[in-house]
Subunit: 255 residues, 6 copies
């Protein structure tokens, strides 16, 4: 049987909810440029793929994805869809509120878009916890693989870099044009980094300006990082590591 | 190549946009109870299936779907997700605005949720036309098959009735539990009908109250209509009729 | 005694509410160009005239009118006042909420502006029903005269056409400059019509763009239809037919 | 010819605007309890009557009235309609913006509701002046008759007191039930008064709480002041004084 | 011990609240140009200084100040910070709501910015009273010194005039550059005045336009009034008079 | 001369802006419980103290502080003031927009409230950068002292712990009641930490629920961490380290 809520009849869904001890996963992503080689929907796919695999293992339900997130900085390249964060807060809140009305009590919002979506998701999570009395956790691949990432010999988190390219190569190879990938290694800035593994003093993240993004576009078609180093094998290790962590989070919530 | 925007890289998307003469389809649906026998995501699937088939025929791009719509009246049964219409207006507006920034000029919003979503979609469409100078048309299966529907010997538009059941039976049979379908024929009301083919005097549509919905639930698991009369053959006729109309609309816009 | 709430003292109003079994009418209209020959307030007057005559017959109260509605497409000609639909939703909601606080339970919102106002009125009606537990029905002349309109040998619904011109000729002749009326017959479009009697396949209504409106202006001073065919006799038949339907709706609600 | 915008065709309106040197009056009032003896619409009628008489004298246009205002404190008695002030700000703004689009440049918003509506009208007026570059003045009878009021031997501004009762007696006697009026003289409070003529130290106005309003209701059916002293003769003096001041304001703006 | 809430630990604050019988003062001001000679924060300082002195005398707590208010008309000169009034309403509401949650029941909002802030503060005060069941009073120096102001031989309320200059000279002399002050006496307008002591007929206050403000800037660096007449002695009389009135208001609320 | 904008006249401010190369600091904090021993305004004081010292060294201006932030989780103890994050976004935006109008181009928002305020500040910063074309950086002590913190032998970031206690002991000792401090060491959670130095896999931060906060209250009066280890000497090292980093950021922006 499908793990996706939208594939179930309401009776099936209700049974799955009870079996899952009221835990549900909501995949949140983005529709934004991902270099020359990755599909625009990469971030949402990451969230969906993680959700699907962990749901199969644990029997929890997965709600329909939010296909687009907050991506103002990637509007410099075609295909990017950005939703105002104040609208996303309300949208995700309504999803949680609706599911709460049907008995769900523990929500895992998976963010495939890394640091950018986290801001508005925090606002939603807090409001839902306070107003509905539910538990909402935010699962983000970049924060949930800090212990692994060094072992894989990956560079820092960039954009369309070897980390997400490898994961998509492993799970959706038909959508990757690796031959078109261009490297554009992350240049360290003094007192600033978007990598959650960064241990130095840093200003807090603010999405890049269009001006800054244009430079990355000119250099490497929107990529920051070294996608040419990608391979499905490492993608598999990374993906399974994240699924294992996600399963652990699900089990914690089900206790 | 995929017709879905999210599957393309930004370069592929940009090429497809130009080939499609700046026409793009946005599927809008609902996540709501569909009786004992249809999946919760039926309405979004209808919009996606129509978009996909028409896009294959014409080469236009399809944006990622909006999985949930305005469904306050179906919250009486599990799995329904309802988003406030004022949020949906802003969400769809941001999708259109983003795509407009990349050169799209003609938008077809397909609504798989029939009459309920139309209200807020009209507000979005007008605003987008006025503020962005684009063209937005609203394609709804129920309004777009008025000439066919009598020929198929279907009853009036209800909910999870033979019309949508047949279409899903044709395209996604694995998600239909026809053996669980219960009939609950539409009862005519004086001066009121939700069927767009209705030719009598009528008050305008307002979504049912929870109290009224509860009655339908008790009678037939959320169904209004006669789903047991469904068959994939009629579903095919209906689906292809709608695709043909959609292709006609695309061609009009491309002129 | 006056049927208008604003003319009553609060004691009179309270007595009338009880006698009317908690039914109240709210007239909603528009202030927008109505060709060379009709007053800017035509739509609101239509709603007020219907409300007044049905209220006299049944004893229900009529709330003060909302003089302006959603008319973005008619801003091309002087005198049109358009209110954003998101504001109108809140305005009408507050009217209903206030009257609910005083014991009214059944609301008839009469829309003299035809299809354009219906979208936002549906959003209000649903919210009021759900949050306040009241009943709200939307009475629109164009939808409520579908059975009659063919018999009168009228053309399709346009703007300032023979239908509303005749009604105003019958009830407020001093405001009509029939000698200045210019005909501009409705031109059928493939797959599109704003006439609720239309039985063909159709895209859903979206208010015209300013560009499209300008054409109508140039042709006939803002008119679409054949106002020169108007006469007060047909206006009387039409008006009384609508009043009879409105009285029927009131009686239904009072049961 | 009518001074009311809604009675004009768009061509007539445009001519009147030019003749009026782009000055327009917008009557704003309230629908709220006015004791045992005055109609619920008193405040809006006051604004309309002043506008109408000054417009006849000067040839300016009067826009359709806003029938309801901000009246949270009067919700304790039936028939009161209160709109949230944040909605009223947007509503009046849209009226001004629409009229601005047709060439009006100088707006007189007449407030028949005295001190309560002024707050939100100030917010609208400032925004309109800043964003549209227009001139907006706020004309309120209580502030515009400070020099006269002592001469008439009236008590301080209350509610449904001799001031507004006399004015309605003069202009709309058929709506006044003077025989039911009950006196409830204004009791002075230390450091607080709603009378704009008050010359002592005072806290700023805040609408009464429901608890405080209930006391007035019990004492005198919602009245504060001495309506039994009312007479149409003084009402005439008061009304004509205000009309004269309004004409003066119109002439100032036309310079 | 400090009278400021922010200086207390939560335990100290709770004790002070009980001793103060749940009365709290909230200083509200502005950050706006105050001529050549006064600091940008003058209005907030006025509110803080009054609050502090009255709190010391009565033992009530003072909440942290709102440093900026509504000052659109002073944006013509550097340093002015203006917040939209609709945001200020919500901000002050949240402050009141938070303090209400901790047991405070009577709120004195002191406005150092005179007439401009009053509009939005009234909206907040009413909402807080209605929704939270608290008491909110608005204390404004200009309205609270009407009886004194004539005795001091001051001119009418202007901007950075002798009234506020003298008060700041008395309490914060190090921030006043009296040698740079330029006089620009208030010019009477027909039917308009911002002085709360004005007894003639008047239109209601609307903040000046940028165009009007520019004139004042050119004449006297942003001043309206006669600051060169300022002296700390009169400032002391004025300040102490206001503190005495404020103490009176506190005592009233504590009863 | 004062570094605070509010202490300057508009002429002084304008000169300082030019000398500072259009860089301005905006201190943002919170008003929330800080255990038995620290003042409610600790976080805002931290932001103000850092701003003040760095401004003295560099000559930049400091805008008036935002005294309260987003603190829903600390509402369990008296004195906490929490503002909705969607209001804070607009408030800070208006501050930036106003200063931008006067020529400021580079903004340093210092957050004394650590991780909680960052979410909404990111939304503001991005919007300001995009809509106004300015540069906004977010300076947070916890993220800006990651390299130092281990050297000081401090435990992880908690609440009112030895880190902020030492800083306040150094700069505002009169407000600290160290004798009342109670230790409540941070208990590690699997897959979760609020410490920016944490290097393990972690879910993203969501403010605690009231239920969770109540536990901390019962244990240690609102403290998490070991404040009894605090000393002004370490506070000095920490404070000066942050000031040095802040000066570095200012210099970067001035280039």
């Amino acid at each position: 049987m499908s793990v996706w809520l939208q594939d179930c009849s309401w009776r099936e869904l209700d049974e799955q909810r009870q079996a899952a001890k009221n835990v549900v996963i909501i995949p949140v992503g983005s529709t934004e440029q991902h270099g020359n080689h990755l599909p625009l929907g990469t971030d949402t796919m990451v969230a969906m793929l993680l959700a699907e695999d962990a749901a199969k293992e644990t029997g929890v339900v997965v709600a329909p994805p939010l296909w687009s997130g907050w991506s103002p900085h990637h509007m410099v390249l075609p295909g990017t869809i950005t939703i105002r964060p104040e609208i996303l807060v309300e949208l995700l809140y309504d999803v949680i509120q609706s599911l709460h009305a049907h008995g769900f009590r523990k929500f895992i919002a998976i963010n495939g878009h890394r640091i950018v979506n986290i801001s508005w998701m925090q606002l939603t999570a807090e409001r839902a916890q306070r107003q509905l009395g539910v538990k909402v956790v935010l699962f983000d691949p970049a924060y949930m693989s800090k212990e692994l990432i060094g072992l894989l010999d990956y560079g820092p988190v960039g954009h369309s870099e070897e980390i997400e390219t490898s994961q998509i190569l492993y799970k959706r190879p038909e959508l990757v044009h690796l031959e078109k990938a261009v490297d554009n290694p992350v240049v360290p800035h003094e007192l600033y980094s978007v990598d959650p593994c960064f241990t130095g003093d840093t200003l807090c993240y603010v999405p890049s300006t269009a001006a800054d993004q244009k430079k990355a576009v000119e250099l490497a078609g929107g990529t920051t990082g070294s996608p040419t180093k990608s391979c499905p094998e490492k993608g598999k290790v990374y993906h399974e590591y994240l699924v294992a962590n996600l399963v652990k989070v699900i089990r914690q919530l089900q206790k």
